[in-house]
Structures are given as structure tokens and as C-alpha cells.
């Protein structure tokens, strides 16, 4: 047991007792740095040397890390330990990358206590947590990916704040939940061992607010939704206001296939970095469905800030991103979506550091057909001039629309149809088809058909003779561009997968074409 600070004795100890002056030493504690979802173990090296009292942190700390000095000093003192009046140097190795955030506080404090001899045992655990001035340990963002990284490096045990415990446990290792610095010290020196937290609670059983059975009519839009869910194709729904575009979009989560464990971990890790994890349910049980408002900024959509936080596109990773009133989004904002839609990830670069987040999502968008919204609505006359409609449609850039495989019209449903009470297909049935189709896709080595490359299209989307005849003329007459042709085949492949067919037939191709592929 090291030296314990007793109130009122410190000055005496310094003045009369030579023991403290002899306390110098070195300690090493493992922490973990986070850049986006990229993690790297950081060795927190603490040197307590004789000399003028001072406290320096080197190894490219950012402001938040540098401020750890004040938090650590107060936390150590207020936990009843001695903050050594020595020359303290903390190095965060590897020293050449900038470290961000407050997660190093716990490791620095424990390192100082170990180096100054107040803790007699070495610290093998990963230590992640922010310190309050009173010595309590606060949770930080991104504990899940950090704990995963430590586990990969063979560090099985982690000390984290109580509120991060379930999240860290989701990574799989032993998690010691420490409420205060004192508790952490007691655990480490063996005076009061804490049992590792149990396995994380299972992901919540998903429940859906909207079922496809709630939507009356709209056979083609429903079909498009099913194809989008199965093949990961981006979908644009166009129709007058009040025809059910938003309702349809909100039914999408109910037909998305469940995430596989790896996808669930990654999606949860993104939420962890964003600070959006529910401590009671750290793992996502369903694919995320994000619906940012059309006033969203570029930063909130694709991520950014200091340190760079994931945006909506990354929070929607493995799931769906719903943009309602698509034309109300700023064109600049929509253009920033092109990179993630193309590459499935976002790289946020800033001076000195860049963060990469995954962003593979299915885009579902809804918009009115014209500024007044009544174009094509039999119940109301559209008051828009042709030029106004052209300008309205021109708000969506060609390159952006090129990345949208499906585009369907959502018409107004006649009253007789609305009253129709005959049973409609439930989401669960559609979902079963989607899951089966995904399995066929997985057998070909792709998660979803929307990701098929041109070489893979050639290999997997072989048309039967009648289907071949259907498109051949259109391609030769260049009514169908090469890009349109490949898009059509991708969607037709998904339609065939939903049908359980290995070959892409004429009917599959025809349905794909009606989904405006």
C-alpha cells in the first residue's frame, strides 16, 4: 500500500518528513485513442521525477486532453490521495498522432498514483474514463470500439465508468465498472475487488410502429420498398402530399433483415462514438433507421466537428436513411451525400487529423412532384408553370439521382380503396422474403445487390432468352444507357432473388423496369 494523504499532514510531511521527496518513479497504463471508428491503443507513460513541481502532458494532446491536468490533480486530491509535488511528465505513445477527448483522465490518474508509489501493483487493464473533480469516474463516448480494440490486442479486462459498463461488456471482455477513482484503486490494490460486469443485456426485441399492412393500396411503392430492403437499392418516392410516402418509408424498418452480429457491433460502435448508446441496451437489435429533418446541415448529415462526430449517414450504417421532403434539403447538403452513397464511408479531414466512419445505408427519399405538390393528383389541379416544375426537379443533381436505383410514384388512393378492409400482407411475411433473398445474395459473396460491380453483374445477372430480347432493342437504339442497363440488371437480380430464382427472367426484368430502374 502506498502513501495515503491524511488531511493536515501533507505540509508537515513535506516539511519534516523526507519520505515523499524520495517518491519518484515510472508507470505505464493502457488507454485507447479514437479517431472516428479507428482506434489505437495508447500507452500512457507517467514519470514522476524530482525537480520543480509541474505537470506536463506530451504526445500531441488536444485541448481536452491537456485539460486533464486540472481534472486529474483535483480528482486525485479529492479522492484522498496525494498529488505528488514533483515534476510529472505524461507521455501518450505513440506520440505522433493527435489524441482527442477526455477518456485518458482515468489512465493518467492511475499512472500518477502508480508512479508515485501510492498503488503497489501494476495496471494491466485498459483504463477509459473521464474524471470529475471529486474523483468520480464519468463515461465517455466510444467505449465499445475501444474495448473491442483492447480485446483484439489481448487485453481482456477494462476499467470503465459505470455508465459505460454494459457497452464495454458488449465487446466481450471482462469489464470492471468503477464509480470513483477510489473504487478503482481499491480494486487494483486488491483491498476491494470488483467482480466483472455480466454479459450485456440482449438487444431489445425490435418492435415496429408501422406495419406494411397499415398501408392501403400502393402495390408498386410497396414492391419498391421490398426490393429496396432486399437489395439495398436507394429509393425515391414521388407523390402529392398526404398519399402515404412518409408512412411507407417508416414501414421500411419492419421489413429490413435483422443485422448479423458483426453488423450490429459496428452499428452500435458508431452510436457509441456519437454518444447515443442506451446504457440498458448497448447493442442495436435492429438495423438503424435515421430520419433527419430537411433543415439538417452538412455537418449533421455527414459528420464533422471537433473531434469529428459521426453524422446521420454513419448512424444509418447497415440500415436506412430517410430524407423526407428531399427537395427541401439544401443542394449543397445533398451533394455531400454522393461520397458516402458511392463508397459506403465518409472521411472527415481536418488539419492534422482525419476520421473515417462507415456509411453504408439504403437511402429512402420522398418528395412532392412539383412546388405546389398537386401535379398528377386527380383530386386537385396543379398551379405550377412548366418552368417552375423544371426548376423544382433540377434541385436534385444528375449525379445524385444516378445513385438512386428505384423511383416510384405514390398516387392518391381513391376513397373506395381506402375503405377496403380486406386483409393485406403483413411486414413479417415480406421480411421473410427479404431475408431469403439476402441469403441468396450472401451466397454470391455480396451483402446486397446494390453493391454488385459491373463484373459481378456480368457473372450473376444472366438474362434468359426472352428477357434478353426485351432489352436488346432498347440498348441498340440507345434508349437505355450503359449505366441504366446495369442499374436495371442489378434491380432485376434483386427481383429474381425475391422470387427465389437463379435466372433473371422476362417478368423480373419487367418488374424492375416498372420500379424505374
Amino acid at each position: 500500500m502506498g502513501l495515503r494523504y491524511r488531511p493536515g499532514v501533507l505540509s508537515l510531511a513535506h516539511a519534516t518528513n523526507g519520505r515523499l521527496q524520495a517518491v519518484t518513479g515510472f508507470a505505464r497504463v493502457t488507454a485507447c485513442a479514437l479517431w472516428g471508428l479507428e482506434t489505437e491503443l495508447v500507452s500512457v507513460e507517467v514519470d514522476v521525477a524530482s525537480g520543480l513541481p509541474g505537470f506536463d502532458i506530451v504526445g500531441l494532446p488536444d485541448t481536452a486532453v491537456r485539460e486533464a491536468r486540472e481534472r486529474v490533480r483535483a480528482a486525485v486530491r479529492n479522492s484522498g490521495f496525494e498529488f505528488p509535488l514533483r515534476r510529472i511528465t505524461v507521455n501518450l505513445a505513440p506520440a505522433e498522432r493527435r489524441k482527442e477527448g477526455t477518456g485518458f483522465d482515468l489512465a493518467i490518474a492511475l499512472g500518477i498514483l502508480r508512479a508515485s508509489g501510492q498503488l503497489a501493483t501494476d495496471i494491466a487493464e485498459l483504463c477509459v474514463g473521464e474524471l470529475a473533480l471529486d474523483g468520480s469516474v464519468r463515461g465517455v463516448r466510444g467505449v465499445l470500439p475501444r474495448a473491442r480494440r483492447a480485446l483484439c490486442a489481448g487485453i481482456r479486462s477494462a476499467l470503465v465508468a459505470a455508465e459505460n459498463a454494459t457497452e464495454a461488456a458488449a465487446a466481450g471482455g471482462d469489464v470492471i465498472s468503477v464509480a470513483t477513482l477510489r473504487v478503482a484503486m481499491a480494486h487494483l490494490d486488491g483491498s476491494a475487488r470488483i467482480a466483472p460486469a455480466g454479459p450485456p443485456p440482449p438487444a431489445a426485441e425490435p418492435s415496429w410502429e408501422v406495419d406494411l399492412a397499415h398501408v392501403v393500396g400502393q402495390a408498386t411503392p410497396k414492391r419498391a420498398l421490398e426490393v429496396a430492403a432486399a437489395g439495398g437499392h436507394n429509393l425515391l418516392m414521388v407523390g402529392p402530399p398526404g398519399t402515404g410516402k412518409t408512412l411507407l418509408a417508416h414501414a421500411l424498418p419492419s421489413i429490413l433483415p435483422p443485422p448479423d452480429p458483426e453488423e450490429a457491433i459496428i452499428a452500435s460502435a458508431v452510436h457509441s462514438v456519437a454518444g447515443l448508446v442506451d446504457p440498458a441496451r448497448p447493442l442495436l437489435g435492429a438495423r438503424p433507421f435515421r430520419a433527419p429533418h430537411h433543415t439538417a446541415s452538412r455537418l449533421s448529415l455527414v459528420g464533422g466537428g471537433t473531434p469529428p462526430r459521426p453524422g446521420e449517414v454513419s448512424l444509418a450504417h447497415t440500415g436506412a436513411l430517410f430524407l423526407d421532403e428531399l427537395t427541401q434539403f439544401s443542394p449543397l447538403v445533398l451533394d455531400t451525400l454522393r461520397e458516402p452513397m458511392q463508397d459506403g464511408r465518409v472521411t472527415i479531414s481536418r488539419a492534422g487529423a482525419s476520421a473515417t466512419y462507415p456509411a453504408r445505408f439504403t437511402l429512402v427519399a420522398a418528395m412532392n412532384p412539383c412546388p405546389c405538390g398537386r401535379r398528377g393528383d386527380p383530386a386537385a389541379a396543379c398551379a405550377c408553370l412548366p418552368d417552375e416544375v423544371d426548376r423544382y426537379n433540377a434541385r436534385l443533381s444528375g449525379p445524385f439521382l444516378d445513385r438512386i436505383d428505384l423511383r416510384v410514384h405514390v398516387p392518391r388512393i381513391p376513397y373506395e380503396e381506402l375503405r377496403d378492409a380486406s386483409p393485406r400482407e403483413r411486414s413479417a411475411d415480406v421480411r421473410a422474403r427479404v431475408v431469403a433473398a439476402r441469403q441468396r445474395m450472401a451466397a454470391r459473396g455480396r451483402r446486397a445487390n446494390a453493391e454488385l460491380t459491373i463484373a459481378e453483374i456480368r457473372r450473376h445477372c444472366s438474362l434468359d432468352a426472352s428477357a434478353e430480347r426485351l432489352v436488346a432493342a432498347a440498348v441498340t437504339d440507345s434508349r437505355l444507357s450503359a449505366r441504366g442497363y446495369h442499374r436495371l440488371l442489378r434491380v432485376a437480380r434483386t427481383v429474381a432473388d425475391l422470387d427465389g430464382s437463379d435466372r433473371v427472367g422476362r417478368d423480373h426484368l419487367a418488374s424492375a423496369l416498372l420500379l424505374r430502374a
Binding site: 400502393q218 407523390g239 405550377c384 412548366p386 410514384h409 417478368d507
Partner: protein, 262 residues
């Protein structure tokens, strides 16, 4: 850009029917078209899909018959008529309500104007740099009526500028035709009134203008699209049949996903 003075032999004789013939007549393109057999196709800017289709079909029939389509290059019916004529490899004349150099449209009409300069003629009775003012369009409407052998109003609500052209057509002794529309459709209120009052003859097809209808192959599916675009669900057809027509270019999908005849 150049101009035709009244004394110029190429000056269109029909323009002399006007009380005050434009002098000079500025133009870009082929001025010889002005003296050819011309049919004016005019209508409202706020057209319906029905009006767009009829204007286009009439323009195509004119083009096939070698008749020059005259209109005002406004949005809506005018643009549909010009585009129809050009798409059928015919010639078309656009009479502008502003100076030729002041005319600077955007988007679709800019491309249309460029095509007309290539294959037709842009005409204005106003000095090149004169910007548009309300009265100029009314005067231009008279010129359209004068340049044409007959005037067809496709769709015009009450108070539409196309009805000014119709009035001038009657005053100048040009044959006046109007396309009947659905009762209750505001866009057809003016044209239906022209027919009801006996001032205009009803157009029941290109035959009404003494033209041959372009033999369009029909099918029950295409007939269902005659009244305007429909969503695939409303079409209630076998996807394979629809796909065939789509790939053959007989129908196309609009930006909002509805299907329409070409």
C-alpha cells in the same frame, strides 16, 4: 441576327394584312419559312398533360405535311408545339414578345430556342435589346395570327393570351380552330367557349386541319394513357406489356414516376 424591311422581297406578305405591319421584322434563322404555309398552334402556359399531348400531335402532323408551325415560344402549349415540330424534323417559327437579344430564357426553353435557331426561325418585331413588357405580348399575338394561314388554340383558360391571338385571327380573317377539352377543366374553358360561340371550329384530330393523322399504333394500354399520365398501379396492366412499351420508347416514365405516352 438581321432584319427584313417591308420593302424586302422576302418580307412575308401575310404580315401586310395587319393594320400596322411590323417594320422591320428582326429574325434569326431561316426567314424563308415566314412565307411558307404556316399554322399557328398557341395556348396557355399552364397546360395539362392532355393539352401537351394534343399540341404535340398537331405539331407533328403539321411537320409531316411540310407545314411550318408558328407559335410564341412561351412555356406550356407553345413550347410543346415547337418541340413537336422539331422532333418530327419539321420547321417552326417562334414569334417573340421582346427583342431577340433581350430574350434569355433558362433551362428547357433555352435549349428549345437554340434548336429553333438551327432548324427554324426566331422572329421579333421589337428592337433587339428591347426588354419584355406586357403590351408587347398582345402585339406579338397579332403578328402570330397574321403570319399563319390558320390558328389553333389548344388550351386556354378565360383571360389567356392565346385568346388574344384568337381574336386577331378572326379580325384578320384567318381560320380559327379550338381544341375541345373536358368540361370543368379551367384550362379548356376559353377554348370550349370559342367553339360554343361559333367563332372557332372544333378540332377533332389533325384531319380537322386538313392534315393526315400520323398513324400511331394503338393498344388498349396506350388508350388508357390518352387522358394523361398514370402511375403503374393505376394502369392495371401486365408488367411485361408495360416494360415492352417502355423499352420500345412508346411510353416513358416522368420524373415523378408516372408513365406517359410519347
Amino acid at each position: 441576327m438581321t432584319f427584313l424591311a417591308r420593302s424586302d422581297p422576302r418580307y412575308p406578305g401575310r404580315a401586310l394584312d395587319l393594320p400596322r405591319p411590323p417594320d422591320p421584322l428582326w429574325f434569326e434563322g431561316d426567314a424563308a419559312l415566314l412565307s411558307r404555309d404556316c399554322v399557328a398552334i398557341v395556348g396557355t402556359r399552364r397546360m395539362t398533360p392532355y393539352g401537351e399531348r394534343v399540341a404535340r400531335e398537331l405539331a407533328i402532323a403539321c411537320a409531316e405535311a411540310g407545314i411550318v408551325v408558328v407559335s410564341g415560344l412561351a412555356q406550356g402549349i407553345d413550347s410543346a408545339a415547337h418541340a413537336g415540330a422539331l422532333d418530327a424534323r419539321g420547321e417552326t417559327v417562334a414569334v417573340l414578345g421582346e427583342g431577340l437579344a433581350a430574350f434569355d430564357p433558362h433551362g428547357r426553353r433555352r435549349r428549345l430556342a437554340a434548336r429553333i435557331r438551327e432548324r427554324g426561325c426566331l422572329v421579333s418585331e421589337f428592337p433587339p435589346l428591347m426588354p419584355a413588357q406586357g403590351w408587347m405580348f398582345a402585339q406579338r399575338d397579332a403578328t402570330i395570327a397574321a403570319l399563319a394561314r390558320c390558328v389553333v388554340v389548344v388550351e386556354a383558360p378565360h383571360g389567356s393570351g392565346a385568346l388574344i391571338t384568337a381574336r386577331h385571327a378572326v379580325a384578320l380573317g384567318r381560320a380559327l380552330y379550338a381544341v375541345p377539352g373536358p368540361l370543368g377543366s379551367p384550362q379548356s374553358a376559353g377554348t370550349n367557349a370559342l367553339i360554343a360561340s361559333g367563332r372557332a371550329r372544333a378540332v377533332t384530330g389533325p384531319e380537322s386541319l386538313g392534315l393526315v393523322a400520323v398513324a400511331a399504333e394503338t393498344s388498349p394500354l396506350l388508350d388508357r394513357l390518352a387522358a394523361g399520365p398514370l402511375s403503374p398501379d393505376a394502369l392495371r396492366a401486365d408488367p411485361a406489356d408495360v416494360a415492352e412499351l417502355l423499352l420500345a420508347g412508346r411510353i416513358v416514365a416522368l420524373p415523378d414516376g408516372r408513365l406517359t405516352r410519347t
